[in-house]
């Protein structure tokens, strides 16, 4: 009786997702391993011989790595500061963090076009101060993509870290102090290790998010392709569905790989976290 009830509740959702997501995804992956003559990995071999594609893959990984590092460096201290605030101020700061997170990525990337463009705010400011004599080319470079992605994902890592840091008992910090730890030692020996779970989840979110983001590189990258814009280009502009499927599979593989590496790292750093 209970069993039947349970299946009845779960079945519609499971069926829907299976038909409209799982099957399309697995078919996408599956077709890349077959051609007219049967099983093959020739498509992948060709791919990894292609300098142009390798270039794009490496650029994307590099951009994602820089974005993640910058997000941690900016987000960790800010999150620590917010987690120490009083209840009301903390809530307000969190709202300010969440707001950009909920705002359209088109709006957020567009705002950077206004700022770092040739006639943008930054160039005008630097020109008027006489620090440069011709406008800097920031927009439509990997740097522009990194700036846009940091802006996109920084709130995510802050919010994740605040959630973890809030749960660090203040008595632990006091205990460390009473055992002779300076403020710096409390930070490096207690707060940082206990924030590792948040740092790992946050880094995964940022890295994977940056690796697969489309809107930001599409708007800020110009001719600079990253893997997601390359996928889109092959699927829509070039109509190369086989190539697109291979790119899609590689993206899924890299995503899974990154998540498992980070999780392994987390286990090593924090055996009983």
């Amino acid at each position: 009786m209970k069993k039947r009830y349970l299946y009845l509740l779960l079945l519609p959702g499971v069926l829907f997702l299976t038909i409209f997501m799982i099957v399309p995804i697995f078919l996408t992956i599956g077709t890349t391993f077959f051609n007219e003559s049967g099983f093959t990995i020739q498509g992948y071999l060709d791919f990894f011989k292609d300098r142009y594609f390798i270039e794009i893959l490496l650029t994307t990984l590099r951009v994602s790595l820089f974005t993640t590092i910058i997000c941690i460096l900016l987000g960790f201290p800010a999150a620590y500061y917010i987690s120490k605030l009083g209840k009301r101020t903390k809530a307000i700061m969190l709202l300010f963090t969440i707001f950009p997170l909920l705002t359209s990525p088109v709006v957020r990337s567009f705002s950077w076009m206004v700022i770092i463009g040739k006639n943008g705010v930054i160039n005008k400011l630097l020109l008027s101060m006489g620090l440069i004599d011709k406008p800097l080319d920031i927009l439509y470079t990997p740097t522009a993509i990194i700036i846009g992605l940091v802006h996109l994902f920084l709130p995510l890592i802050i919010v994740t870290l605040v959630g973890v840091m809030e749960n660090i008992e203040t008595d632990l910090l006091k205990a460390a102090e009473s055992l002779g730890a300076s403020r710096l030692a409390v930070f490096s020996k207690v707060i940082i290790p206990l924030s590792v779970p948040g740092l790992v989840i946050g880094s995964i979110l940022v890295f994977v998010g940056s690796f697969t983001a489309y809107t930001t590189p599409a708007l800020l990258g110009g001719k600079q392709r990253v893997i997601s814009t390359f996928l889109y280009q092959n699927a829509i502009t070039l109509n190369e569905w086989q190539v697109a499927s291979i790119v899609a599979t590689i993206m899924i593989a890299v995503t899974v790989l990154i998540i498992s590496i980070m999780n392994g790292l987390a286990k090593k750093l924090n055996p009983k976290g």
Partner: protein, 262 residues
């Protein structure tokens, strides 16, 4: 000790300047009176707000987006509420797997998911663009619906259900008279979060365009590629107002813990 905190406060202030400054700057540029987008604007006008309504595709795509998000939301609720209830109420073998299954659409890169939809839902299944948009958006909203409602159900005391049954209510009756009213605010919050997620989506909608059909964000992208005027700034301001309103309501309904928990 005080010194260090002041340094940290300044650092945090700069981080937030980085986060919110750009949004402030485009808001200001939306009031530009001239033809070119620049900061600071030279004269004040509301003409770019008017211009939004002169671009027909904005109006059409806005309607499309609203329709797709609302209809998708409704279907995601019909599928998600029973599932979230089953996952919170019962213990059974494979529960963690089912749970992971329902949040998996978040884990698949959106741009990949969109391509798979294009290739198989539009291609193989031969669904028309509108239907494909509706199905695709339902898929991406489902995890949010299930997550938010599950967290709302995790605070629910299921012995109340037994109380209702002991008083003569049927199982289905119990759900509608006792469970549903108690997770009302959770459902509303779920709807709003899922709506924002769907309405702002680019990664999937970007594949699903056809003659005269596209969603609002895709229309914005197309516009930016062709014109660099403050129309998009004006739209941004309107979208931010809606976002702020939604965020405020979600905060009222369930606090901020949803966002900080992972």
């Amino acid at each position: 000790m005080q010194e260090k905190n002041r340094g940290l406060a300044l650092f945090t202030f700069l981080v937030f300047l980085f986060l919110l400054g750009p949004l402030l700057i485009i808001s200001v540029t939306s009031f530009e009176g001239g033809n070119i987008l620049k900061f600071p604007p030279e004269e004040f006008s509301l003409r770019w707000y008017e211009n939004i309504f002169n671009v027909e595709m904005f109006l059409i795509s806005f309607k499309t987006s609203i329709l797709v998000s609302l209809a998708g939301n409704l279907l995601a609720l019909l599928l998600g509420v029973p599932a979230a209830y089953a996952l919170s109420r019962f213990d059974f073998k494979g529960k963690t797997i089912i749970n992971a299954f329902f949040v998996s659409p978040i884990l698949v890169p959106g741009i990949v998911l969109g391509f798979a939809f294009l290739r198989y839902i539009v291609g193989t299944y031969q669904l028309p663009i509108y239907a494909a948009l509706f199905v695709g958006h339902t898929v991406i909203m489902l995890p949010f619906i299930i997550r938010v409602i599950s967290s709302s159900l995790s605070n629910f005391d299921f012995s109340i259900e037994e109380a209702a049954e002991s008083l003569g209510a049927s199982k289905v009756g119990t759900f509608f008279t006792v469970v549903l009213p108690n997770i009302k605010s959770g459902i509303l919050a779920a709807v709003m979060i899922a709506f924002l997620e769907s309405f702002n989506n680019v990664d999937i909608s970007v594949y699903m365009t056809g003659p005269g059909v596209s969603t609002f964000p895709i229309q914005m992208l197309t516009y930016v590629e062709n014109y660099f005027d403050p129309t998009i700034s004006a739209i941004s301001v309107l979208l931010m107002i809606i976002t702020a309103f939604f965020m405020f309501i979600v905060e009222r309904l369930m606090g901020l813990s949803y966002f900080t928990k992972r």
